[in-house]
């Protein structure tokens, strides 16, 4: 009896200590509100650009299903790419997204992200949220699609006004590839240029 209650007490303590992290990863709404809190504090206006990009990388890797998104945005060309091309693409894609969105987020100051609800989705969950603006302008409604990956939720897509980031990116990338004669290498070359990456990194 006492041993059992001691065990329970220990469990409660351990769970209590780990709870925020575990809950955040196991609860899709928690992932988003957690991300919102961290994003708005580490990506603010006063952060130097280089540091902002580095921090964005960290958040992106932690909370987003980067390989899944990379695969999706390459669409049918994922299969036609070689393994080396796929690996390089995933890296370049992450760098590219970090550059694009960290500069977007730099414009934010004083905004807060509020989770307004969540619902089930075939592969995980969809979390609805609002970016509350200090100017009193109408809040921006943002929806997140998360996939359940062995009990951990990872972000797959973000949408504002029915415009999906993943769909937009895929549309642009496949246009680039098509205009390069269907060669994934053409896209990789452009991404290298945009991200300032030397070939064969």
């Amino acid at each position: 009896m006492t041993r059992r209650s001691a065990l329970i007490a220990a469990l409660v303590l351990i769970v209590g200590a780990l709870a925020p992290a575990i809950l955040a990863a196991a609860d899709p709404a928690g992932v988003i509100s957690n991300l919102g809190n961290r994003a708005l504090e580490v990506l603010g206006k006063n952060v130097p650009p280089a540091q902002r990009v580095a921090r964005f990388h960290e958040l992106f890797r932690q909370d987003f299903d980067v390989p899944g998104i990379a695969r999706f945005v390459l669409g049918r060309y994922w299969k036609s790419a070689t393994t080396e091309q796929q690996d390089e693409f995933v890296k370049l894609f992450e760098d590219y997204i970090a550059i694009v969105y960290s500069s977007q987020l730099a414009a934010y100051s004083g905004e807060t992200l509020k989770v307004t609800g969540s619902r089930a989705d075939p592969e995980g969950a969809i979390v609805a949220s609002e970016i509350i603006r200090p100017t009193g302008a109408p809040p921006v409604k943002v929806e997140w699609r998360l996939t359940d990956q062995h009990g951990t939720y990872k972000i797959r897509d973000v949408a504002v006004d029915g415009i999906s980031m993943a769909v937009t990116q895929r549309s642009e990338f496949s246009s680039v590839i098509q205009r390069n004669g269907g060669q994934v290498q053409g896209l990789i070359a452009m991404l290298r240029e945009k991200t300032g990456t030397a070939p064969g990194r």
Binding site: I126, V142, A159, S164
Partner: protein, 289 residues
């Protein structure tokens, strides 16, 4: 996000454009159903569209952006807000008809209430009292959306000189609205005294729209690999979302498991009962994907 920053409602100009593009409306939209694996941009006129897009970019850089910047610098926020609210209020009759034609009586009622409130308490529409204090936000609406709700396909993507991204369905809707607009009808009875009013309205509306997206569009252009393709995707997704009526929602999950396009998603969801959505589409002024 309204991706028609250059949406000028000159009925005469649109008529001219409609005459210039007789082939578009007749072209079937799903011309390549067999190419299932190919990303379907529905853009058979891409080369022409890109040329017009480039031309529009030159006009945008040299005329529209400088004018929009000057507009934003010279006029204080409240004045520009009033211009915006006034223009939105002028849209009310057409929006009401479109809400009704879509069978969305809840939103039709809201549009009616907004118009009544804003035209009276809001001093002829200068102050959006219904949106600010009445929990009755403005919603984007037009005949192209109505046709989409009815199942009319969008047709090939086209870039219109000055006006920007469109398709035969949306362009046709704009032309028809130009003729059906009660304010336009009101002034066409006096061709030599008031004929300029629709042009001024169209011009101011274009400047108002453009001034709201100066930084957003500049950022998208700077960071994208293919600006034309990005705008095309944004336009088509936005229109599809308006037709779905779930303006702030993600596209259906099907888009993740197979290669398809927003238009196909719309075609699929059109059959499902459309939930009436109350909330206004927030402007995508600082966020972009």
């Amino acid at each position: 996000m309204n991706l028609l920053p250059l949406r000028l409602v000159f009925s005469h100009m649109l008529l001219l454009l409609a005459l210039m593009l007789p082939g578009c409306a007749a072209r079937p939209s799903n011309s390549q159903p067999s190419v299932a694996e190919e990303e379907d941009f529905n853009d058979p006129l891409e080369d022409t569209n890109r040329a017009i897009f480039d031309f529009n970019q030159v006009v945008d850089r040299n005329v529209l952006v400088p004018v929009a910047k000057a507009y934003r610098t010279v006029l204080p926020d409240p004045v520009r807000d009033s211009v915006h609210d006034f223009l939105n209020n002028l849209r009310a009759p057409l929006n009401f008809v479109n809400d009704t034609l879509q069978g969305d009586f809840k939103r039709a009622g809201q549009t009616f209430a907004r118009f009544t409130l804003n035209s009276t308490v809001g001093v002829g529409g200068l102050f959006d009292v219904a949106g600010r204090w009445g929990q009755l936000p403005y919603h984007e609406q037009d005949l192209g959306v109505t046709l989409g709700v009815w199942g009319v396909p969008d047709g090939p993507y086209v870039v219109i000189p000055i006006l920007g991204p469109s398709n035969p369905r949306d362009l046709g809707g704009q032309v028809a609205e130009g003729f059906a607009d009660p304010w336009n009808i009101l002034v066409t009875g006096n061709p030599w005294t008031l004929y300029w009013i629709p042009y001024v309205r169209g011009g101011v509306s274009g400047i108002d729209q453009r001034s709201r997206y100066i930084e957003t569009l500049a950022d998208i252009e700077r960071t994208s690999l293919d600006y034309y393709a990005t705008i095309r995707s944004l336009y088509r997704q936005r229109r599809a979302a308006l037709i779905r009526g779930e303006r702030e929602n993600l596209p259906p999950p099907a888009s993740f498991s197979r290669i398809d396009n927003p238009a196909a998603i719309v075609a699929g969801t059109n059959l499902a009962p459309r939930p009436a959505l109350v909330s206004e589409a927030p402007n995508l002024s600082e966020v972009r994907w």
